[in-house]
């Protein structure tokens, strides 16, 4: 399916992928009574955070993420990905790690779970990281910084 005006967009794959993410978060909510927030669960699994679900369950969720991606990669002819280089990834990773802990969540916990619940904190957090992300890309493009390989 091609979106008029956006030949590179993949709306159908995006929608189906989004439904899978919604189902994943539903299993976490209705099955275990918790928010499927990846940053919080990753911090819990690694012992960085002492709060949240049992560590064994947190590890199972974290292990599932690459498993799910591997299944999709196996069923399709690999998955396209162009990454930034190591130095950029280290800077970005540090910011993402610090920011998600201070901000109590990321795109999954705030963006998917919190916004769909109309949580005031999540709406503010999501608005903030969206604006920051858009501004960052705009500034980098204006400076001619092309970081992806």
């Amino acid at each position: 399916m091609i979106l008029p005006g956006f030949p590179d967009a993949a709306p159908l794959a995006g929608l189906v992928g989004g439904v899978l993410i919604g189902l994943a978060a539903s299993v976490m909510l209705l099955g275990l009574g918790r928010i499927a927030g990846v940053s919080g669960i990753a911090a819990r699994a690694t012992g960085i955070s002492g709060e949240g679900m049992p560590r064994s369950g947190a590890w199972m969720f974290v292990l599932g993420l690459p498993m799910g991606a591997a299944i999709v990669a196996g069923l399709s002819n690999g998955i396209e990905a162009s990454f930034a280089g190591p130095v950029v990834l280290i800077v970005a990773g540090l910011l993402v790690g610090i920011g998600t802990r201070l901000g109590s969540g990321c795109t999954s916990g705030h963006g998917v779970c919190g916004v769909s619940r109309l949580s005031q904190r999540s709406l503010v957090a999501t608005g903030t990281f969206m604006i920051a992300g858009i501004a960052t890309v705009a500034v980098m493009n204006a400076l001619g910084l092309d970081v992806l390989r």
Binding site: G17, I21, L29, L32, A73, E80, V91, T100
Partner: protein, 139 residues
């Protein structure tokens, strides 16, 4: 109880599959979505939309349950205070997200797609999380 291990594994696997299918494990796709003033790629709006539709229903169902299916009691965030930490942290996260086009879930899922580079991102992210945790303990 085995369901308390199987349920999060199923959730994580569905999540990872959705991220990969939706293009979120490709930083070029994510940065294209954030490139609102350039060559905008709306794909991730469809990802968010699909997830929202399902979760809006799940929250409706949740209201009717007194307990989750495999656990005793719901453990959901109940804070409503808007703090500088929430906004500042989210801004830092957004900057990092914009720089490399990766957030935590896709970073971890991409360990099987672009192993070495994803591992560098995830390792740096965990260091960042640890630093934030230490700074919060000492303040």
């Amino acid at each position: 109880m085995i369901a308390r291990l199987i349920a999060p594994l199923v959730s994580g696997t569905l999540f990872g599959a959705g991220l990969a299918l939706g293009g979120m494990t490709n930083p070029a796709r994510v940065r294209g979505f954030l490139d609102l003033f350039g060559e905008w790629d709306p794909t991730l709006a469809f990802v968010m939309g699909g997830a929202m539709i399902v979760m809006a229903i799940a929250w409706r169902v949740q209201l009717r349950l007194s307990n989750p299916i495999f656990a005793e009691g719901f453990a959901l965030p109940d804070r409503t205070d808007l703090t500088a930490k929430l906004v500042g942290g989210s801004a830092l996260f957004g900057i990092g997200w914009g720089i490399a086009g990766l957030c935590p879930g896709p970073g971890i899922a991409a360990l099987v797609i672009e192993p070495a580079l994803a591992a560098i991102f995830v390792a740096a992210m965990l260091v960042g999380m640890g630093l934030a945790q230490i700074s919060q303990r000492s303040s």
